[in-house]
């Protein structure tokens, strides 16, 4: 058992225990650690926004670019970007809507046709059963089950008709598929949460206390 000597490993271990202390009950150590986390995260983000976007894509080109038109173009963009600061100036805070509109508009516009292709058409196409599926019995059976599952799940979330007649059994089969799907997510979520806790113990018992190899 050889305890770590690096001061930083001790700092990391103390912060880990401070967060775990919440399990006993909410306390000052936990609050300190939580507020520290928010501060460091934002300081880290500022660093990389500065070094990896503003410097290489704005300051360098403006300083070094031979063409005057590029300088004017980039400075104009920087001015529009600076409008974000107006968010905190009450009288003219509506100006922040201009940069937001440009980013939001392009993002929504770009996603519409692409998502229709990737999420609707491709997934729809993958549900269609073709003769290729009948090459052997299991691919055929699974393709049929998936087709039924997709149609009944979609029908469960159909609100324009009362759940009477054919829709009643279809919705029932749909909820069975949905619940088996959520069961699969539930089982894997349990697995995920445990892994995160194991990761922290691998640090505490390994790197800090040196108990495990």
């Amino acid at each position: 058992m050889h305890i770590a000597t690096d001061p930083w490993v001790w700092i990391a271990a103390i912060l880990t225990l401070a967060i775990f202390s919440f399990l006993y009950r909410e306390n000052p150590f936990y609050r300190i650690a939580e507020h520290l986390y928010v501060g460091i995260a934002n300081g880290y983000a500022i660093t990389f926004y500065w070094h990896r976007i503003l410097v290489p894509s704005l300051f360098d080109p403006v300083a070094r670019s031979p063409h005057f038109i590029t300088k004017v173009w980039l400075i104009a963009l920087a001015i529009i970007g600076a409008l974000y600061f107006t968010r905190f100036i009450p009288k003219i805070s509506w100006l922040v809507r201009i940069p937001i509109a440009i980013l939001l508009g392009y993002g929504c516009g770009a996603s519409i046709p692409r998502a229709v292709e990737a999420e609707l058409l491709r997934q729809l196409q993958a549900t269609i059963i073709t003769r290729a599926h009948f090459a052997h019995w299991d691919t055929a059976a699974w393709a049929i089950i998936i087709l039924i599952g997709v149609i009944t799940t979609v029908s469960y979330f159909f609100f324009s008709a009362e759940r009477k007649g054919a829709l009643k059994p279809i919705s029932y089969v749909g909820i069975v598929f949905i619940m088996v799907g959520f069961g699969a997510s539930f089982g894997y979520t349990v697995m995920a949460r445990i892994s995160l806790f194991i990761g922290r113990l691998q640090f505490l018992l390994g790197d800090w206390l040196g108990l495990i190899r």
């Binding site: 880290y44 990389f48 290489p56 392009y106 990737a118 445990i194 806790f197 691998q202």
Partner: protein, 301 residues
Amino acid sequence: MTPQADSARVSFWTRLQAIDRRWIYLVLAAVVIVPLLFPFKIKPKATTPVQKLFNYIDTMPREKALVISIDYTPDTRAELQPMVVALLRHAFATRRPVGVLAMAVYGLGLGEEALSQVAAEFNAHATNHEDSIINGEDYVFWGWTTPPLTVMLGMGERITNVFPVDYYGARTESLPIMRDLRNYDDMGILVTVAASAMPRSWIVYAQVQFGVHLSCGITAVSAADFYPYVNSGQFTGMLAGMKGAAEYEELVTAKMNKEGLDWGLRNRGTEAMSSQTAAHLAIMAFIIIGNIGFFATRRRK
């Protein structure tokens, strides 16, 4: 069942259910710590999606690059970092060019950790310039920029426009590896390792327009939600949670041993499997006992 025995049984179960949740925390902690100190060996058997990704990377043409996108943050590092390390070892062991980028700014530090760790592992055993792993020749760490749309669409045209400068600050045009790594066409596969919906954006923006081959390493929480993309062929296989990481580690270690690179490297994912198993059984026991208590008391009310 006499009334007294009946009420005794009910009061036992209600008391058992009402115990303080911190006792349950202690039980869970013990169940995880003990197997960490005294692990029992577990050989995870590769499931189909993991095998599919491994076979694809193994049989990719030699000059095609393996690109890894770090789309997760330190929150889910325990599950996803072992995947990145295993993928890097697989690529370096088979002498493939590697490109790494991060779509989450907090993924940068994780990318740096994984790359320096695996490069050091290989360089420790390298004898000459040929087998050592050199930044700028064998791998490039493009770093991060935003918004995601600029990256995903821009890398289909020219990567050096999207990443003029790499993580370390060097100009990307000057790096030798970038000569034949211009855009998606020079990539064998791009693996998005993520905890959130970023893989969906890679499909919607990168694959639809440029047809790049994609796969994903995902936390077990969202794994079930991505199976439709594996089924439709949009993802070529998938690594799900720490179990997926352990399976891929197993395949890579076996491959490296076969190629005479048996360096006894640590596999974080596999090491956690014994605790993972114990904790699973504990959670299942909690649910079963809880439900027995529930049904025992319910009949009484």
